[in-house]
Symmetry: C2
Subunit: 483 residues, 2 copies
């Protein structure tokens, strides 16, 4: 068996990880820690980091000495030749309920896509057997791609949404789970709509109560308030959610300015505030805890408002290309001081992988660059390998209020990480080991042996997939493993 | 062992393939042949096709009866539940010599990318040990992705180019192998340039003579005349190649109008003809046997000229996005009556997969669509799943003069095909069979069981990879196999 499902249960032993660790030093730069040792305590927190020693053995002994741990109370994970540890990916926008539809969108764009493909599937998940199948597949698949934190839209159905929270907790993925609020007649279909604003709020509270019960303190799974987007929400629902947000400073997720027709629709439905962002702001939903998905067609004023409110943006390039929504400007957002993360946005986006989202973010930025005449502006517009990987790790962590908790290998952070292995090409052009009986496919990243670390990382970004993600830890617990 | 390297040697037994066959009926439409049988003769040609019977057993018996073949002289390949046969992919533009650089391009664009990354690597392949490693890996990797025909740029080095031809023949990939002509001082670097036009022509003839010797009649491997592109070729080389082309109606490959700076450069170097396409036309290189890679920034006049000359275009979306070259207009080319295929253009393109090129072709067309105000034109601009797969199979075949030979399952065509298998999701959300000891990773296409065939094909296009390509045949010979 290649894939291992690791049984539930907290990490109980000390752990020491040995080898090369790579994470973002800044948006523009990756840091490479070689011959390093990372000590992880019984709660899954990084307790010590030793790096750049003469060998991993020296680093190991030093970190054990620092911690005062005996060798027999420690699990050691040493990465193989050419392997490295990387922070787990963070998916800041994903509809778990749409997972079965990945790749199915035809020539549709947002509004007809919702009616044709999305609402029918989402509504069908009130069947809990179907929801079990879909949500389990989604959580396992995204974990296998190294997604240690996912920010989920579920559906309007409370039991199915609660089931998703249960699954994240038992399988071991850090998650924000949102029951979707959508009550506005005229936009939401009759067969898939909260019956009233009161119903919307009651159902929202039910999911919060469930998560309070299964994970008090939200150590792994947290509720997130989820007004679907302005066209589907009444003022009463938005106001109700605002009040609820203030009670416990809950996180909030919604969509904004994904598609031009949607922007026009919002102007018609909510003519008062003057802009899409202002609609949310008028209802108190632009908070520092708010993640806005897409943000493709924002005006300068909307960008400034979002920056001022310290709300965050989830950039979803696969989705924006697939549904021909537009080209979101990450550099423009950064220049305004807005924090940005990546979202797969399944199934507007076709892929469960944040590595794919990072790859497509670099390409999306080049499509924007192609339209810029000024050479300096054009070059600036392009996202680098390093910036794309920042978006998928630390960038996402900051968006979810987890900037001090996950996203890198620093003392005090939790161990949400993946072990990455690339493929090696033998001297005869075969793949290393392919003639042995227990050879395992290492995927499409072919390392010839002369590459720098920076080049290996670029190769991983552009040709890597779940085969390269050998192990995944969340909060120190090994939750996925493959050979 | 998961991957099987199949030993060299011609197919000697009759074969019958049974199950579902899918291929392009037209650009817009896929044809689904269910309960079908395809008989393949000892030369690897399709001798009979029976479809839409009550069961594969009925189809098998009928095809055996038609052919008068005894069961004991036939190898039968039956596709499993949910699997299907698909034509092999055709890569109409790929630099085998650049394979180790996939994903490595930084923020560069065409002209600086050539100097910084490409010429140094290509020139280093005069080391035949290195060339063996690189070319073997490239041929095997592309075959594993279902590429049954590849149109290769090698390097200027004759022995290394001849080695690539040898490898294609022995490993069993149908290929056009081009020794690269580049002699123009001022553009080509001193360390990597044909010494003179005479040297260019002599070296070109040497590779042709080699292929004449190893594969008389070009049954699997064919030479292709390869002026790199206008900036790197003297008039004498282009004229010499024109004369050589006329001798045996050789195919020709080159680049055109990939990048705006390149277009400007061509105007400076070759000011007479008036356009990039006209430069080639003035030297007699726009023939019906010519494949022009990229064609991003063509004018209307150039499009009309190429159409008139019946030259073909290789669309390379991964490359054009990565190097920010621009967005080539496939629909515009088709409207002009130009035949178009897909190219990976490694390593301008980051992926060895034509499935990835097809996927990115649909996204590229949506980036173009985003810029179009008129709704009808915008919708027309978008490429469908079916059109993208046409480009990767029959479209490519037509571009290479193989329209009657490969690209579909018709009597008289050669069997260049792949067996595709998708992944199944169990009722509990696990992947089917993942708990068994001999479970093999079926990749990222998760079939839930309720999808139509059209939806399964869309899922394959957007999340498929080499794991889904279970077997590959070229000219009836099984050349790649994995569980």
């Amino acid at each position: 068996m290649v894939i291992t499902r690791v049984a539930a249960g907290e990490q109980k032993k000390f752990q020491v990880l040995l080898g090369t660790f790579i994470h973002s030093k800044s948006r523009a730069e990756l840091e490479y820690l070689h011959n390093a040792a990372v000590a992880v305590d019984r709660q899954g927190r990084i307790a010590a980091v030793v790096k750049d020693r003469g060998s991993v053995g020296v680093a190991r002994d030093e970190v054990l000495g620092q911690m005062g741990w005996r060798a027999d109370e420690v699990d050691v994970v040493q990465c193989g030749e050419g392997q490295f540890f990387f922070p787990g990916f963070i998916d800041t926008h994903v509809h778990a309920s749409q997972y079965p539809n990945v790749g199915i969108f035809g020539k549709s764009t947002l509004l007809d896509w919702l009616d044709k493909y999305t609402f029918p599937l989402e509504s069908s998940l009130s069947d809990l057997a179907k929801a079990t199948k879909v949500y389990t597949a989604c959580v396992r698949r995204t974990l296998a791609h190294g997604t240690t934190t996912a920010t989920y839209f579920a559906t309007i159905d409370v039991p199915a949404t609660n089931l998703l929270a249960d699954l994240c907790l038992s399988i071991g993925q850090r998650a924000f789970v949102g029951r979707v609020c959508m009550d506005r007649k005229g936009f939401c279909p009759d067969y898939y709509r909260d019956e009233s604003p009161e119903d919307s709020m009651r159902a929202t509270r039910e999911t919060i109560a469930h998560i309070d019960e299964i994970d008090p303190g939200y150590r792994l799974v947290s509720p997130i308030l989820t007004p679907r987007f302005a066209p589907s929400c009444s003022k009463d629902v938005m106001n109700g959610l605002m009040k609820l947000q203030r009670e416990k400073n809950f996180p909030v997720q919604t969509h904004i300015s994904e598609n031009k027709d949607e922007v026009e629709l919002v102007k018609t439905i909510h003519p008062g505030p003057g802009s899409y962002a202002a609609v949310y702001d008028d209802h108190g939903l632009l908070t520092p805890e708010t993640v806005l998905a897409h943000a493709v067609h924002l005006t300068e004023e909307e960008g400034n408002l979002i920056s001022q409110r310290e709300s965050k943006i989830s950039h979803c390039p696969c989705s924006n290309s697939s549904l021909a929504s537009g080209e979101a400007r990450v550099r423009w957002m950064w220049d305004k001081g807005i924090d940005v993360g990546l979202g797969t946005d399944m199934s507007g986006g076709y892929s469960p992988s944040i590595l794919e989202a990072a790859r497509q973010a670099t390409l999306m930025s080049r499509h924007l660059a192609m339209q810029i005449d000024d050479e300096e502006c054009r070059e600036k517009c392009k996202l680098t390998v390093e910036e794309a990987l920042y978006l998928g790790t630390r960038g996402g962590a900051v968006c979810l209020g987890l900037g001090d908790e996950v996203g890198g290998f620093e003392v005090g952070k939790q161990l949400d990480a993946q072990l990455i292995g690339l493929g090696e090409v033998g001297e005869d052009g075969s793949r290393a080991g392919e003639n042995s009986n227990d050879w395992v496919d290492a995927g499409n990243v072919d390392v010839f042996g002369w590459e720098t670390w920076e080049e290996k990382i670029a190769k991983w970004l552009y040709n890597g997939d779940d085969r390269n993600t050998k192990k995944v830890w969340v909060k120190g617990r090994l939750v996925h493993s493959r050979r």
